[in-house]
């Protein structure tokens, strides 16, 4: 009995090992096969290239996180680039799922299989720089023809760490204000240029909103601002900075400094919108509601422009988020192009090709702004193609007025805690003071690790 058990155990182990080994061997062989196949493909293509240009073709991989309309436009741009650089550079684009993108990027760098060029949000860049997975670009920029001076300063500065460039900003996507032209026109709230007439100051904005709420038909919402999640937090950040708030973090990057006059005032202004009923609480599907023409105002990011333009029968306009307090300011973030660190086979040719591609994308920002984003370069902003596009010029200024979140490697998880704490205020669970205290407590816990 005992012996047979031992025998069967041994047998099963042997079986397992043999399975494992065979699995390994088959995977290596299939890998080899793949490599061979792709090598062949490359070979034949580079032969073609050699026949046409005489140069060796460089093939690079490009990871991005653009879905929906953004994704379609980005793929179009990659296609156009590949046509222009036929025989010289070939970009293979791979769109990763948004939610998994950064996890995959980090593990790919760790495993030595990083893409040659990738996308990072400006707000995520500090974390990637801290982890040492993005290349500083200064050593390669000149030889690849990258000219930093054409970039919008506000957007570029947010991507510089310790005086080194780590990314080429591709765009900026600030929080702006969309408005339904038809509804506001019917209420006589548009000026001759079709822009909404908002009196200055917090009372001015509240009066504007009151007028809308009084005039609109039943079932339509004055301002589509959710009382939870990212949007009210972005409005809070905009107002906080309009009052010259001292920022999110102190110089050490470990202390959160928002529990001050400006932070409270901004939170109170937003909270009053909900408690006074000017904005209904817990609105859902705000984007869809605006698309259906059932909302007069919608504060959200510029990425919505493309979608709204594709909505039939919707007459809308867009302006930078209005100046309610002392100076214009709004929430902003960017997509940037980064060169991930290659643990194995670092190839300067590929880095240069990647930078050439990145520069090309930023130069052709007008194409990218079809999605709604604000281009990052003068080249793009001054191009006729951009000027011909409707709406974008109306909110262009927001790209320079927007205030980026500070550089901190723990910014994203800390920001999530800020959002949760502010939600507590909007939901009436905590007072403004308590809410900001909670935010500080929970954010500092993360920042101090």
């Amino acid at each position: 009995m005992k012996r047979s058990k031992v025998i069967s155990a041994c047998l099963s182990i042997i079986l397992m090992l043999s399975l494992l080994l065979s699995a390994c061997s088959s995977s290596t062989s299939s890998n080899g096969g793949n490599e061979g196949a792709s090598g062949e493909e490359n070979g034949s293509k580079s032969n073609e290239a050699a026949a046409t240009s005489g140069d060796e073709k460089v093939s690079i991989t490009y990871w991005n996180l653009f879905g929906g309309g953004d994704g379609a436009i980005m793929n179009e741009m990659v296609k156009k680039f590949n046509e222009e650089y036929k025989g010289k550079i070939e970009v293979k684009a791979l769109t990763q799922d948004w939610g998994q993108y950064y996890t995959k990027l980090q593990t790919a760098v760790a495993g030595g299989t990083a893409p040659d060029v990738g996308i990072s949000h400006t707000s995520k860049l500090s974390e990637l720089v801290e982890l040492g997975i993005v290349e500083p670009l200064d050593a390669y920029a000149d030889t690849s023809g990258v000219d930093w001076s054409v970039f919008n300063e506000n957007m570029l500065n947010a991507t510089i760490f310790d005086g080194k460039h780590y990314a080429l900003p591709l765009d900026a996507h600030p929080l702006i204000l969309y408005y339904n032209k038809k509804i506001l026109k019917d209420l006589n709230l548009l000026d001759e240029n079709g822009k909404p007439v908002i009196e200055p100051g917090p009372d001015g904005f509240v009066n504007f909103l009151k007028k809308i709420n009084e005039g609109i038909p039943k079932g339509t919402v004055g301002m589509l601002l959710a009382s939870g999640g990212e949007d009210p937090y972005r409005v809070w950040w905009a107002l906080y900075n309009q009052m010259n708030g001292p920022g999110l973090l102190d110089e050490s990057g470990k202390k959160v400094i928002i529990n001050n006059e400006q932070g409270k005032k901004a939170a109170e202004f937003i909270n009053n919108l909900f408690t006074s009923g000017l904005v209904p609480k817990n609105l859902q599907k705000i984007g869809e509601t605006f698309q259906a023409g059932k909302g007069a105002l919608l504060p959200t990011g510029v990425w919505f422009t493309g979608t709204l333009e594709a909505t039939k029968g919707l007459e809308f306009g867009a302006i930078p988020f209005p100046q309610i307090y002392d100076k214009p300011a709004t929430w902003i973030d960017s997509h940037t192009l980064i060169i991930p660190v290659q643990k194995k086979n670092k190839d300067e040719k590929k880095i240069k090709a990647a930078l050439t591609f990145a520069k090309w994308l930023t130069d052709h920002g007008a194409m990218w702004s079809k999605a709604g984003h604000i281009p990052s370069t003068k080249t793009a902003v001054e191009s006729q193609e951009f000027k011909n596009m409707p709406l974008r010029s109306d909110y262009l200024q927001a790209g320079s007025d927007g205030v980026y979140l500070p550089q901190s490697p723990k910014l994203w998880p800390a920001k999530d805690q800020l959002v949760q704490a502010l939600d507590g205020i909007w939901q009436g669970k905590s007072s403004v003071d308590q809410g900001l205290d909670n935010a500080i407590k929970n954010m500092e816990k993360i920042l101090s690790r």
Binding site: V109, Q427, K429, R449
Partner: protein, 311 residues
């Protein structure tokens, strides 16, 4: 002659023959079990021990940074948010598990009788189970959201809710928990129901016939035949359900995001956020181990105290 030799051959070779056959059977079993065990070892056993190793380090998605000993465990045990999210999960288990046992059991009892259309009903009650967590979450958001949601609109229509009022099913902590329990019940009870149904069908009919002859009424038959016969299964389902409920994550994440103000944040969500958002895989793994120990202890106690009497 033929039969005689056959008989003598078998009788002569009894002991080695049996052993041979046994070996053959075991070999065969090993062949069939090997694929599972391969995966089990590669994707469960090795990662568990590797996880133990990770939990003793400061570890990011990039890899190991430094050895920190038990620091991660100490930090987790001192972390108020860890305990808060553990409590949220426990709270969910306490309020959801009774429903997730009683409702499927009752449904199984009903569907075990000879009512009309029972195959259809079985399908209907089981169907939500095959849907993915994303699908059921969005269905329920559609039902429960304010202003345009199905439920509030219905309540407005029948004047149970005045027109200018809204119930925020997903945004107020208490209501959000009720919603999550309803969603989970609707989604997962079908599985338990099917198991109960199979168990009910295993109870010999003559037990009931004998009891009926002795004058037992419906309640007595349930109390003295069905429940004792189902005892083992009920314990099993309870344990499985407890473990499943403790692992709650997907539907809460998709429906409330752990909000408002982290008040529905579950253990798994907190572990996930710590690992993949705050990039503290070492700490997240340590939390997972603490959680794992709690679950194992619970399952053990459950079997010891409720599964003790074997039939």
């Amino acid at each position: 002659m033929n039969t005689a030799t056959a008989v003598s051959r078998t009788s002569a070779g009894t002991a080695p023959g049996r052993r041979k056959r046994k070996l053959h059977n075991e070999l065969l079993a090993a062949v069939f079990l090997a694929p599972y065990f391969t995966f089990f070892i590669i994707f469960s056993i090795i990662p568990i021990f590797f996880g133990l190793f990770v939990s003793l380090h400061k570890w990011t998605l990039i890899g190991k940074e430094q050895f920190v000993g038990l620091e991660n465990y100490v930090y987790a045990l001192k972390d108020a948010d860890f305990w808060a999210s553990l409590w949220h999960t426990t709270y969910f288990v306490i309020i959801s598990t009774p429903f997730l046992i009683v409702v499927p059991f009752a449904l199984a009892l009903i569907l075990d009788t000879k009512i009309k259309g029972r195959t259809f009903l079985r399908t209907v009650f089981f169907l939500p189970n095959i849907l993915s967590v994303a699908v059921i979450s969005f269905i329920w958001i559609f039902v429960l959201q304010p202003y345009t949601g199905l439920l509030n609109s219905f309540l407005h229509k029948v004047h149970l809710l005045s027109a200018d009022k809204e119930i925020f099913w997903l945004n107020e902590t208490g209501l959000a928990w009720i919603s999550i329990v309803i969603i989970t019940l609707w989604w997962t009870q079908g599985f338990n129901m099917i198991i109960f149904l199979a168990g009910l069908q295993d109870i010999p009919v003559d037990h009931y016939e004998a009891a009926t002859l002795d004058g037992a009424n419906g309640w007595q038959r349930l109390r003295y035949i069905t429940l004792p016969a189902m005892r083992g299964l009920i314990v099993l389902i309870t344990v499985l359900q407890l473990i499943a409920s403790f692992k709650v994550f997907g539907q809460v994440w998709l429906v409330t995001r752990g909000g408002p103000a982290n008040e529905t944040r579950t253990m798994i969500q907190y572990i996930y956020e710590t690992g993949f958002s705050a990039n503290e895989l070492g700490l997240a793994t340590a939390m997972s181990f603490i959680f794992f120990v709690i679950l194992v202890t619970l399952a053990f106690l459950q079997f010891k105290f409720f599964g003790g009497k074997k039939d």
